[in-house]
Structures are given as C-alpha cells and as structure tokens.
C-alpha cells in the first residue's frame, strides 16, 4: 500500500473555518507545519475526505487548533472527523488545561545559580536543626536516655567496620606500595633506602590511612546511609516515626553515627598497619633493605603521638561521613530520582568535608606542635 503525504490546510469563508486534512498520518514521519492558532470566527469544521490512515500524531496537531478556537469563542464542530478521532478530541478537550504556577523549566544560567544559592540558604535552618537534633540525641545517650534499638547499632557497626576490611586492605596496601616506590626512587640516589620506613610509616599512620579510610567510608557507608534514609523518606516511614512521637534522630541517625564513630578509628589503625606492611614488603624485596632493619627503623620513626593523630583524624572523618550521609538522606525528596540525588550528594559532601577538615586539622596539629 502506498502512503500519501499528510497535509493540513485551513480556509476561512465568512466566519466559517474549514480545516482540510488529507493523506496518511503516522507518528515519526514527515508532517505538515502546525497551523496558526485561531483568533476569531464562528465555527471550526473539518473536512476529512482525503484522509487516509491516522494515529495520535493527527490528534496532536488538531488539539492546539481546537483549543485556541474554543478560547476565541469559536464553536468546534467535530462531525466531519472520523468517529474515533472525534471522540478522542472531545476527551482531550473535556478538561481545560490547567497552567500550574511555579513549574517553568526554562531558565538561564543566572536563574539557575540564583536558585541553587537560594535553596542552599533556605536549607540552612534545616541543616542546623538536623545537627541540633543529633547533639541532643548524643546528650541523651550520655545520660543513658537515648532510645534506639541496640540490635540496629550492632548491625550498622558490623556493616561499617568488618565488612569494609577487604576494600580497606586492598587500598591501603596499594597506597603503601606507591608511597614506598616513590620515596625509594629518590632516597636510593642518596643510598638512604632505609628511610623509606620513616616516610611510609609516618605518612601512612599520621595522614594517609585516615584519609583513605574516610574516602572509602564516604563511598561505601555514607552513600548507603543516604540511600536507606532517603528510601524511608519516600515510603513515609520517617513520617510514621514522627507521628508516633518517636525521636527520629535517636532511632535513625544515632546508631549510624555511633557505628562510624567507633569503626572509623579502628579501620584507620588497621589501614596504617597494612600500609606499613606494604612498604616493608617493597623495601625488602625491591630495594634490598633488611626486614629487621626496616622494622626497627619504623619503630624508631613512629611514636604514640602519630597513632593518636591518625586516629583522631579518622574519627573526625568518620563522624563527618555519617553526618553527610544521614543529612542528605533525611532531606531527601519523595521520588526514586531524589534518592539517587541524595546518595550522590552524600558522597560529594562527605569527601568535601573530609578534605576541608583534613587541612584544618593539619594546621591545628602544626600549631599545637604535635
């Protein structure tokens, strides 16, 4: 069967508008330009003598025409249309289009920047309220009056800590290796390979173990927290907590926060030890340093302060990751899309907070001479 090109024409004769429709109409094929909207006239009628096959693409062309005609006070006579099409047109016109305010999606870059800034500003009180609630929960915890399920705490702690061991091991091992190689290449020129131990030991234990652990936790645990709480928000589960008068921050935020607070420093310690072991492996196998000498040099270089500094950093990063994850989850919108955005935001915010606090802490410890 051959297909005739679709065509659409509008004649006007003494107040009577006639819309001539011809050819075959198929969505996705070449179609005539839309007709200008009707601004006057008494009657809009249709002539379909040349019309072949049609689908909703024809309806899409006719709808704005009929709507504008109706608005201009012109009667739409659909008896010239095939019965099915007339019914569809009547159905589509039955409820007048409602223009909802505040839903325009066209905006310039300045509009966008303004909106984002304004939104961040408007969220500020909410964010502060979240922190306030968390601190109150911590206060209640200290007084032994916080209400949450101990079983939750164990579950979250297990997930944040032991289950993160494989990835933490892998990353610290690789970072320890890189550090040893890079340092050794320079130190070997001076014949001072033994100082790899100092470099790797202090570097890992004091700074890098905490940083790597923090970033892993942000991507693994912080994102999970945001997704869990965001989904609970979508399902109205958090609203259900509120209407029962159950303190949301005790039940949902506190166990997550505490498990990271406890697990982050332990993971940091572990990551430091793995990093040092990796450095030792490289130094002994590639750069001819004796294993015992390396060990001795490491113990000479490291003191308790380095471990404490590292673990303090790890704790701070863990707390920040938990706050970022829970905050983004709690302020999540009510759709699947919003959960995705909350998860992304949790990771980005977590890493941002880690980086900022890393520099602040480094300056602080420097000033304190630790």
């Amino acid at each position: 069967m051959t297909s005739h090109n679709a065509s659409l024409l509008l004649h006007q004769e003494a107040g009577i508008l006639t819309c001539q429709i011809a050819g075959d109409w198929h969505a996705g094929e070449q179609q005539p330009e839309p007709l200008p909207s009707v601004t006057g006239g008494e009657r809009l009628q249709f002539d379909c003598s040349g019309l072949g096959r049609w689908d909703s693409s024809l309806l899409a062309r006719l709808l704005p025409l009929a709507e504008s005609a109706r608005q201009a006070g012109c009667v739409v006579a659909d008896d010239g249309l095939p019965p099915g099409l007339a019914r569809l047109l009547r159905l589509a016109l039955a409820v007048p289009a409602r223009r909802q305010p505040g839903n325009s999606h066209e905006e310039g870059i300045l509009d966008h920047v303004g909106k984002v800034t304004l939104a961040a500003w408007q969220r500020l009180p909410l964010n502060l309220a979240f922190l306030g609630d968390l601190f109150r929960s911590l206060g209640r915890l200290v007084l032994g009056r916080a209400r949450f399920q101990r079983a939750d705490l164990l579950l979250f702690a297990e997930d944040a800590g032991p289950r993160a061991l494989p990835i933490v091991s892998l990353i610290s091992f690789l970072v320890g290796t890189i550090l040893a190689y890079m340092g050794a290449a320079q130190l070997a020129m001076l014949g001072a390979q033994i100082y790899i131990a100092d470099l790797v030991g202090i570097g890992m234990v004091r700074e890098i173990a905490a940083l790597m652990t923090g970033i892993i936790l942000a991507g693994r645990t912080g994102a999970a927290y945001a997704a869990q709480l965001g989904t609970m928000q979508v399902n109205e589960e958090i609203d259900a907590f509120r209407t029962f008068g159950l303190p949301v921050s005790d039940f949902l935020v506190l166990p997550r926060f505490l498990s990271l607070l406890v697990m982050a420093p332990l993971l940091t310690l572990y990551a430091g030890i793995v990093g040092v072991a990796a450095g030792m492996l490289i130094a002994t196998t590639v750069f001819d340093v004796g294993a015992f000498a390396y060990f001795q040099q490491t113990t000479k270089a490291l003191n308790l302060t380095h471990f404490i500094v590292g673990m303090v950093k790890g704790t701070v990063y863990g707390a920040l990751v938990a706050i970022a994850g829970c905050l983004c989850g709690m302020r999540c919108g009510r759709s699947a899309q919003a959960v995705g955005e909350a998860t992304t935001a949790a990771v980005v915010l977590g890493i941002l907070l880690i980086t900022i606090s890393a520099s602040l802490l480094t300056i602080l410890f420097q000033q304190l001479g630790i």
Binding site: G102, M232, E237, T243
Partner: protein, 250 residues
C-alpha cells in the same frame, strides 16, 4: 442527636509548597466520634491537608486546633504529646521495612506506650488478627502484598489505641471485598473505641457507607467547595461535587 463536642477545628488554613498554593481558606470542624471524609480529585491536596492535620507540615496560614489547643502554636513536647493520641495510616502504608510486622506494631507500644516486650508481642498478635493477618507476625513488609501492607499499617495505627485516626486512601489497592471489610472495621473501631476518624478516600461505596460528614477540595479554585453529609451533598451540593458523588450512576 445531641451535638457532640468538637475534636478538631480547622480555621482559615492555607496549604503551600514554597510559592505554590495548594489550598486556601479551609475552615471546618470535625466532631468527636465522627467519621469525616476528605474527598476531591487526585492532586487537589488531600494528602497535603492530612499532613498538616497530623503535624508533619507547618501551615502557611491559619490554625489546626485539637480540643482547643493549636497544634502549631504550642511547644514541641505538647505537640508530641498530642501526636501520640493520633493513629496514622499513610497512603503507602509506611511500614518500617527493617522490622517484622509484629515488631512494627510493638515498637510504638514499647517505646511510647511503656508496655513490656512480652505484653506488646501478645497485643501485636491481636491487632494483626483484627485486620485479618493472624500468622503473619514474623513476615517483613517486603514479603507481603500491597493490600496486606495497608492492613498491617492499619494494625500499627491502632497500636496505642488512639483517640483520632487518620487514614490516607485506606482502600486504594484493595479488592472490593477487602475494602468492604475495611469499612466494617473502621465503623467497628469508631463504635468500640469512640475514636474520631478522618479518612481521605475516593471510594464512593465507603463514602456513603461510613461517612458522617465530608469536605470536598476543589483543584480548580484551590479551596473547599462543599461541606456536609455526603448523602445530602449528592443531591444538593455544587455541580462538581454532585458529579463526583454521582459518578457511579452515569
């Protein structure tokens, strides 16, 4: 019938999402022991109104008073105390997904009601039996169907024997038989507990079977266009409301 005391008083309430007006100038009262229906086309703001009544969203203007106390002009602890007298069935059920059905009902009982765990477990089993879910105590919400979730959520809403129950489309997603059963259950609850019940629903059968009074929210004009007994509104309400209530017979 002697006039009953007022349970909820809504005065010039305006609902907004940011700049966007959802409903304005809502004023009506709900009598104690009434089954009060909130109806209207989808998207007109019924759930939003409900969220304002239960203290989840702050009104842009106007007030919501329970026994004379303004929910939004009082301090947090009073508001929480007021909320504890509510039972809420959310549109999506909102069961806590990490807890079993039995634990879902026990949690408010032990944490808010001060029950011992063993008593709470026993009572939870009774409430589940009331909604036809005996034997499902140890199932997780993800392991049961949509209609069953609604019923379990109803059992949870009744956990603390509330004075006022709020239901958001309780029968959506239920087959007609379960839906009729739910209506009976709601009537039973009102008669046995003397609870006031506020229901958002589209279900004509329920509206006429159990509704004492109703408010109709209009999406077009963004305010209420009718208030009264649904059986009366069906004949003498404004056109939009008559169409809505008469749709079964078109």
């Amino acid at each position: 019938m002697s006039p009953r005391p007022t349970a909820i008083e809504i005065d010039s309430l305006t609902l907004r999402y940011g700049e966007r007006l959802i409903q304005r100038d809502l004023s009506f009262t709900i009598a104690q022991g009434d089954i009060f229906i909130i109806m209207g086309g989808s998207g007109c703001g019924k759930s939003t109104l409900l969220r304002h009544l239960i203290g989840l969203q702050t009104p842009a203007a106007g007030s919501v008073r329970f026994a004379g106390v303004d929910l939004w002009q009082t301090d947090d602890s009073t508001r929480q105390a007021m909320q504890r007298r509510f039972g809420v069935l959310f549109q999506s059920g909102a069961l806590w997904s990490s807890l079993t059905l039995s634990e879902n009902i026990m949690l408010p009982m032990t944490e808010i009601g001060g029950f011992r765990a063993a008593d709470a477990r026993e009572l939870a089993a009774v409430k589940l039996a009331l909604v036809g879910l005996a034997g499902f105590e140890d199932f997780y919400p993800s392991e049961i169907s949509g209609g069953m979730k609604k019923r379990a959520a109803l059992a949870r809403a009744m956990a603390l024997d509330p004075d006022i129950l709020f239901f958001d489309e309780p029968s959506a997603g239920l087959d007609p038989l379960s839906s009729a059963h739910l209506d009976e259950l709601i009537l039973e609850l009102r008669d046995s507990l003397g609870a006031t019940i506020v229901i958002v629903t589209h279900e004509l059968a329920s509206i006429f079977a159990i509704g004492d009074n109703a408010v109709f929210l209009d999406a077009e004009t963004r305010t209420m266009i009718a208030l009264g007994d649904p059986k009366t509104l069906r004949h003498s309400g404004p056109e939009g409301v008559r169409n809505f209530l008469g749709r079964g017979k078109m």
